[in-house]
């Protein structure tokens, strides 16, 4: 594409580095900014700079945070004995949105994936095992995605902590609420039958 302005070309090129944003979309976004007040672009770029340079990761759960300890870890009345192990920050937000969980989280920062060159030492696993060793945790809930990498990561952590006396669980896999049985995949449907729960329990929420 021919740009009549080097400044425009540079902005489009930088913008199209972002995932899922091609040159055409980037151009559309930059031209949109040119039609908006200057303050709006200033605020956007300041906000991006601020989050990139100043954001911290919680020293306890590795969730994104403005302080050394995140809001969830410092909220009183949460159950300090139950830890939900998740892949990344978006999973924390998704579970928090349900209001169904009152324990704490542990963000691994990914899954073990040799194909992508990610081993156990690239993830926040050591600090999780250390927490378990300290003896204050009663239950670990594995909430990783149910892929080969997720299962591998679950199992790797499980092996490290099985000698300690804590409960381990994984989130229930089954048919989504509201979904038709006939469209569900066989593995999910099969698992939802094997792991059926007492009917009384399903009435609780």
């Amino acid at each position: 594409m021919e740009y009549s302005s080097k400044l425009l070309e540079r902005a489009v090129n930088e913008m199209s580095q972002l995932p899922g944003i091609g040159k055409r979309t980037a151009l559309r976004l930059v031209l949109h900014m040119l039609r908006q007040p200057k303050e709006q672009t200033l605020m956007l770029s300041e906000a991006l700079q601020a989050v990139r340079n100043e954001v911290k990761f919680c020293k306890s759960c590795h969730n994104i945070s403005d302080q050394d300890l995140c809001e969830i870890c410092t909220t009183p009345n949460r159950d300090l004995g139950v830890i939900c192990v998740v892949e990344d920050i978006k999973d924390v937000m998704a579970i928090e949105n349900t209001s169904s969980f009152k324990g704490l989280y542990h963000v691994l920062g990914g899954k073990i994936s040799p194909m992508d060159g990610i081993g156990p030492h690239d993830l926040n696993i050591e600090s999780l095992v250390k927490k378990v060793k300290e003896g204050t945790i009663k239950e670990l809930i594995f909430a990783l995605s149910s892929t080969m990498e997720g299962d591998t990561t679950n199992f790797y952590i499980y092996k490290q902590i099985k000698e300690y006396e804590i409960l381990t669980s994984t989130i229930a896999r089954g048919i989504s609420v509201g979904d038709e049985l006939e469209y569900a995949d066989e593995i999910t449907l099969g698992r939802s039958i094997v792991n059926r729960i007492p009917f009384e329990n399903s009435l609780k929420h």
Copy 2:
């Protein structure tokens, strides 16, 4: 959505001001930036600032430019007597990509559209009529999108300049009626410039 960081929330909110970018996409983009080196976010925000604050519009054709006159207006060997009238900057880029046009452009900055409150005086029409009056232009090519607003704009300009002895043409209707210029393929768009027809003929249908 609950954010565990005010900095993250602010960045996501600013990002989701952009057209076609919702909160979820904005979050994905910001989290991607957090995984990349700080320099990358710095370069993006500097590039956006620079384009917003420093970019100029060509004093002659109103195309986006780094100088007072744009690269196209200052290129030698272009045919100064032929002016292609377009809606916006993306149309200049699209036509330049075809390499089928060696004249100059005139960017109107939109179309007459009473529904959106855009009248003739909101567009760069006066400066175009002034150019025609000065007598150096041999031909005007209307290359607005073939919508009602585009046709209205063509006709408005045509009425202002028909007393002067210049050729007027519109790009050939090789492009489907209702389609936007920027999405046309290069061959169709290129051919439509080569096969332009007298403006009077375009009024017949």
